[in-house]
């Protein structure tokens, strides 16, 4: 080596002597390469003045290379650690990386390489959490009962159970073979009949999974196939009774759950009752979302019971089949409850009877802030009661009555009620045929209220500071 090191002085600037140096020597010694001996190389970000790489760097490179077999990370100095994390491959098996690496930068690279579009804000600004949640979601969404080995799911669980807080499952595949046979047998039958016949139509059994995820707080489910295209079959969108049973069991076992959402899954009264029965003594559940289902009055009654028993904060049941009786049950629950802040009944058929019941309940309730009763076949009588609510209730902030034919008289009553109110910030009265005059005055009052609310907020924050 000494002669090689001695070389640059003479050799670099005398190109004539270059050919004399043998090829391997040239490869070993970067100084022999005239390009590498240039002082500044703009294109090369790795370039450095040090001609021979430091032993430290070599070691780190080695660690990176052999990370899969011999993961050394926490023993390193912070600066070295950062370097190693920068260079680690994203293709490393999760078994190695999951519990070892907590550095966000690495998981950021993993996520962006795998999915491209990522919004880390949805995952509590944690790339690692995002990675593991989406990883698990993908595995569950692609799980085919009886075909895929359950182990594929269970293997991942110990790796990601510490990081998964939310599961947003957008599809659950039905078993492949037998449904086809069923289809052949009962081609003319309705889909619902089909669902009840074979046990094979059941989906992924959550019971095996949920009690292992000790940090799970949110669960969003859709029992259906997304993007089926022209392969549409009714039985792809089936939520069987056994599915429901296993789900109920799973929910009972998952004690940390706070938010539960199941939508577009044909949940009918029976199933909703079964689910709510298992949720009645759940310790933490606060938000329940059952939108786009087939819940009728009996289901609504069960929901009312849940509102009463548990300290729910938000209930969303829009696009269901709740009628006056169900609405009355929910209204009764509202009179007793002191925790619920948000109620969404959009696109149901509660009618005037139900609307009046709920409005009467609002006279007594002092916690609810948001209520959505859009598209509910409400008319003038409801508006009458609601105007009274507007005068008396001091907690309501957002009210939505859109797409209800309140008529001119109803509009006037609501306008009158609003003129006494100082707390409501939003009041949606679009497509309610209440007349432009009322609409305008209401919007004026709303503006005033908004200003007041804003000032109050500013003063409160000022006081807090």
């Amino acid at each position: 080596m000494p002669n090689v090191i001695g070389n640059p002085d003479k050799g670099v600037f005398t190109p004539g002597r270059l050919p004399q140096i043998s090829e391997p020597v040239m490869r070993l010694n970067p100084a022999s390469d005239p390009r590498k001996m240039r002082r500044i190389i703009a294109e090369d970000p790795e370039w450095s003045l040090a001609i021979i790489p430091l032993l430290r760097d070599l070691c780190l490179q080695h660690i990176v290379k052999n990370f899969e077999n011999n993961p050394i990370l926490n023993e390193l100095l912070p600066s070295h650690k950062a370097k190693v994390l920068e260079k680690l491959s994203t293709k490393l098996p999760l078994k190695v990386t999951a519990n070892l690496i907590s550095h966000e930068g690495y998981w950021n690279r993993c996520c962006t390489e795998r999915w491209g579009v990522c919004d880390v804000a949805c995952y509590g600004n944690s790339w690692k959490r995002m990675f593991f949640e989406r990883h698990l979601e993908k595995i569950i969404e692609l799980f085919i009962p009886d075909v895929t080995d359950i182990k594929t799911v269970l293997d991942v669980v110990p790796l990601c159970k510490n990081y998964v807080k939310k599961l947003n499952i957008s599809q659950l595949l039905p078993p492949v073979k037998e449904p086809q046979m069923n289809e052949d047998d009962n081609a003319s039958d309705t889909a619902s009949d089909l669902g009840h016949e074979g046990p094979s139509i059941d989906h992924f059994d959550f019971w095996t999974l949920l009690d292992k995820l000790t940090h799970l707080e949110e669960l969003h489910l859709v029992y259906g196939v997304s993007g089926c295209g022209m392969n549409f079959e009714w039985n792809l969108f089936e939520f069987t009774y056994r599915d429901c049973q296993s789900l109920a069991k799973a929910l009972k076992s998952c004690k940390t759950l706070k938010v539960f959402r199941i939508h577009q899954s044909k949940v009918d009264d029976e199933k909703v009752r079964l689910l709510i029965n298992s949720l009645l003594d759940h310790p933490f559940l606060t938000v329940l979302d059952l939108s786009h289902n087939l819940i009728g009055d009996r289901g609504a009654r069960a929901i009312g019971k849940l509102i009463n028993e548990r300290k729910m904060k938000s209930i969303t049941v829009y696009d269901n089949k709740i009628r006056a009786h169900g609405a009355q049950a929910i209204a009764y629950a509202l009179t007793k409850n002191t925790t619920l802040t948000s109620l969404n009944l959009r696109l149901n058929q509660i009618g005037d009877e139900g609307g009046q019941a709920i409005a009467h309940a609002l006279l007594k309730n002092a916690t609810l802030t948001n209520i959505h009763m859009g598209s509910n076949e409400l008319t003038e009588p409801t508006a009458t009661v609601l105007s009274q609510v507007l005068v008396q209730n001091k907690t309501l902030r957002n009210i939505n009555l859109s797409c209800n034919r309140l008529g001119l008289d109803g509009g006037k009553q609501i306008q009158e009620g609003m003129s006494y109110n100082t707390t409501v910030v939003e009041f949606d009265v679009r497509l309610t045929e209440i007349g432009q005059e009322s609409e305008y005055s209401i919007s004026q009052i709303l503006q005033n209220n908004q200003e007041k609310a804003r000032k109050k907020l500013i003063t409160e924050s000022g006081v807090k500071k």
Binding site: L347, Q349, S375, E377, S402, C403, D428, L431, G462, V463
Partner: protein, 736 residues
């Protein structure tokens, strides 16, 4: 309002603003209102935690704030409009959906109605047809049958046609709804597109307007800043100008002051120089005078030095002498010291020796004392034992003697009564009653209590027994009064003073006892009092006195008299004292008192009232106990010892002699005569007895001979004999 203006010309803005000191009342009111408003605002701001900034700043900031407020309002409006525009689509979709739902519900209702009516109709038709089948069966003509069958066929076809029509309708409806579904899908896709478009547009708009507003706000802020800068700059300039002016002024002032002070300095200098010269002259003259004095002093110094030197020489000589004598003295001192030491050593030695000796002697003394004590104890013990032994022996002997006496008397009696036949009279024998060794009578004093009893019992006849005066004869009615008299006189002599009190009358004693009984109740136990309550008065007072004497330690008669005497003396002393106190004031009174004293002199001992005042009893008692207890105790003990040692045995011989002389001389003579006579009598009796014995022997010989005779007579040998003795006898007798 320009701050520069504000700073430079302060009075100007005040003129424009209504002043409180204005002449016009409306203006004054307005000014006050403004002031109140300002105060309230200041308070509000303080409450909100904002610094109470000066007014002008608030006004300046208003511009930017206004701008911000305006833009905010515009933006919120824009935003709400935008969201409304976007959500409009959703709402429209909702309303369409609800509309569709109601429509569909209606359609479904119609459909079901139609289906139901159709089903009913077809059922009716079917029933018609089935009825006709029965009709057809009843027909027999083939033509008719054919006709009917044709009809049936037609009707069936009609029925099927109806059904098919219905199916077609439904299928069409299905298709239509399918179409509608597709349309809806399309529509929804369009809606979504529209929504996205609108959202994008809104975002674009919002971004644009935000940017604009931001620009405007920035502009306004910049403007404000510039204004603020300008104003500050102006202010700065002005202040600088002001400063410059002031500096110039200060400079001028300083220069003026410097000039003045220089002048003053000059003046001071001149003054000081003059003063300095004056002082200098004065000091120089002083120096001259002092030098003269110095010369003088030097001369005197020389003189003194010579004198002192001479003195020094003399002293030196003396000192030498002194040293010599000192050394001599020292030597002497050392020598003496040696002697002193020697003497001291000797002294200590001797001291030690003597001390040891002394110690030994004291030891010896102690030992001897102990031995002596031991000896005394032993002696006491032996004395006691001896006394006891003596008494026992005495008693034994006495008993023996008494027995002997008794026997003698008995024999005397027997002799008198049986032999002489005379009545016997028991002689008077006093010593038989008593026992134990003879105790000298004078030591057997009467107990105090006995005296008290006597005194009290004699209550009734005190007046008569004035001269009973147990005083003189305190003893019991003893057999040997002369002895006792003698003894008493002896004791009187020894006790000397105790002689007098013995003459105290019974009355006085009684009185004294009564007083004691009344006054010293505290000495009696309460229990005793309780027990005494049921007794007679005399008994009571006796018991009480007993307790009191116990407490006071009074044991015998003598003590009682002492006590009485003491009381009397005490009283006399008291009266003397009181007299002494009275003397200065009234000598006459004293005389009368003395007279009274003398007058009462004779009766003073007998009169009880004068004995002592009850109030003084306690004090007197205390004095008495103090005086009399200790000496008496000692004497008591001594006398006891004395008693043991020197028992007077003079009377013993007489006593025993008495015993011996129980049987008088005359009687003895009688006895002798009797003895002789009896002796003679005895002699006769013995003679007689002898004779009797002889006769008795003769009698027995007779009887024995008779028996032998009888035997011989009655024996067989006789019979065998030729002549039985019996016959002999008979013959003999007959002969006789």
């Amino acid at each position: 309002m320009d701050p520069a203006e504000n700073g430079s010309k302060e009075p100007e803005p005040e003129e424009s603003v209504p002043s409180v000191e204005s002449d016009i009342p409306e203006e004054r009111i307005a000014a006050r209102r403004l002031r109140i408003a300002a105060r309230i605002e200041a308070k509000k701001r303080e409450a909100l935690g904002v610094d109470p900034n000066p007014k002008k700043e608030v006004k300046q900031e208003l511009k930017s704030e206004k701008q911000v407020e305006q833009s905010r309002q515009r933006l919120t409006k824009l935003k709400s409009d935008g969201t409304e525009l976007v959500t409009n689509i959703q709402v429209a979709a909702d309303s369409r959906e609800s509309q569709r739902r109601t429509d569909e519900a209606e359609a479904r209702r119609q459909r079901t109605e139609r289906l139901e009516s159709e089903a009913k109709m077809s059922l009716e038709k079917f029933e018609d047809i089935t009825k006709k089948w029965t009709m057809a069966r009843s027909r027999e003509l083939p033509q008719d049958l054919w006709e009917i069958l044709n009809m049936q066929q037609q009707q069936c076809a009609l029925l099927i046609e109806d059904k098919n029509k219905l199916i077609n309708d439904l299928q069409q409806e299905l298709k239509a709804s399918d179409d509608r579904y597709v349309k809806d899908l399309k529509k929804q896709a369009e809606d979504i597109d529209l929504m996205i478009e609108r959202m994008e547009e809104q975002i674009k708009n919002l971004m644009k307007s935000y940017r604009e507003e931001l620009n405007q706000i920035e502009k306004s802020f910049e403007l404000e800043r510039r204004e603020l800068l300008d104003s500050n700059h102006n202010k700065w300039e002005q202040m600088m100008q002001c400063r410059r002016d002031k500096e110039l002024q200060f400079l001028m002032m300083r220069m003026k002051r410097v000039e003045e002070q220089e002048r003053q300095l000059q003046q001071l200098r001149v003054q000081d120089a003059e003063e300095y010269n004056m002082i200098k002259i004065k000091l120089e003259t002083d120096v001259q005078i002092l030098e003269q004095q110095l010369q003088q002093m030097k001369a005197t110094y020389q003189l003194n030095q010579e004198k002192l030197e001479y003195n020094f020489q003399v002293l030196k000589k003396r000192d030498e002498e002194n040293t010599i004598t000192k050394s001599q003295q020292k030597r002497k001192i050392t020598r003496l010291q040696d002697i002193l030491n020697n003497v001291r050593i000797k002294h200590t030695k001797q001291d030690k020796q003597f001390r040891e000796e002394n110690h030994g002697l004291t030891e010896d003394y102690k030992r001897i004392m102990e031995q002596y004590k031991e000896m005394q104890k032993k002696m006491k013990h032996f004395a006691n034992v001896d006394a006891k032994k003596f008494q026992e022996i005495w008693l034994m002997n006495e008993e023996e003697v008494k027995e002997l006496v008794q026997r003698a008397l008995e024999t005397d009696r027997i002799i008198h009564e049986q032999q002489l036949g005379l009545a016997w009279e028991k002689p008077h024998l006093p010593f038989m009653e008593r026992s134990g060794p003879i105790v000298p009578e004078h030591e057997k004093k009467k107990l105090a209590l006995q005296l008290a009893e006597e005194v009290i019992r004699s209550k009734g006849n005190t007046d008569a027994d004035e001269e009973w005066e147990a005083v003189c004869a305190p003893g019991t009615q003893s057999d040997s009064p002369p002895f006792q008299e003698q003894d008493r006189l002896d004791t009187d002599n020894t006790e000397s003073s105790a002689d007098q009190p013995l003459k105290i009358s019974v009355k006085t004693i009684k009185r004294l006892l009564e007083i004691l009984c009344d006054e010293t109740g505290f000495l009696i136990e309460s229990k005793l009092l309780k027990l005494l309550s049921p007794l007679e008065k005399d008994e009571q007072s006796l018991m009480k006195l007993d307790a009191i004497f116990m407490a006071l330690g009074i044991e015998n008669e003598e003590d009682v008299y002492k006590l009485a005497d003491f009381f009397i003396k005490y009283r006399e002393q008291q009266t003397v004292d009181s007299k002494g106190a009275d003397e200065d004031e009234s000598p006459g009174k004293r005389e009368s008192h003395a007279q009274k004293e003398t007058g009462d002199g004779s009766s003073h001992r007998s009169s009880s009232s004068d004995l002592i005042h009850p109030n003084d009893v306690l004090q007197a008692l205390r004095g008495f106990t103090k005086e009399h207890f200790k000496p008496r105790d000692k004497s008591h003990q001594q006398s006891k010892l004395f008693n043991l040692n020197e028992r007077d045995d003079s009377k013993d011989a007489a006593y025993w002699e008495d015993m011996v002389n129980v049987i008088p001389e005359a009687k003895l003579k009688v006895w002798d005569a009797l003895y002789n006579a009896l002796e003679k009598y005895h002699h006769v009796l013995t003679e007689r007895m002898k004779l009797i014995n002889e006769t008795n022997g003769m009698k027995q010989q007779n009887s024995e001979l008779r028996m032998l005779l009888h035997q011989y007579v009655n024996s067989r040998v006789n019979a065998e004999l030729e002549i039985p003795p019996t016959q002999v006898m008979q013959v003999e007798s007959s002969w006789n």
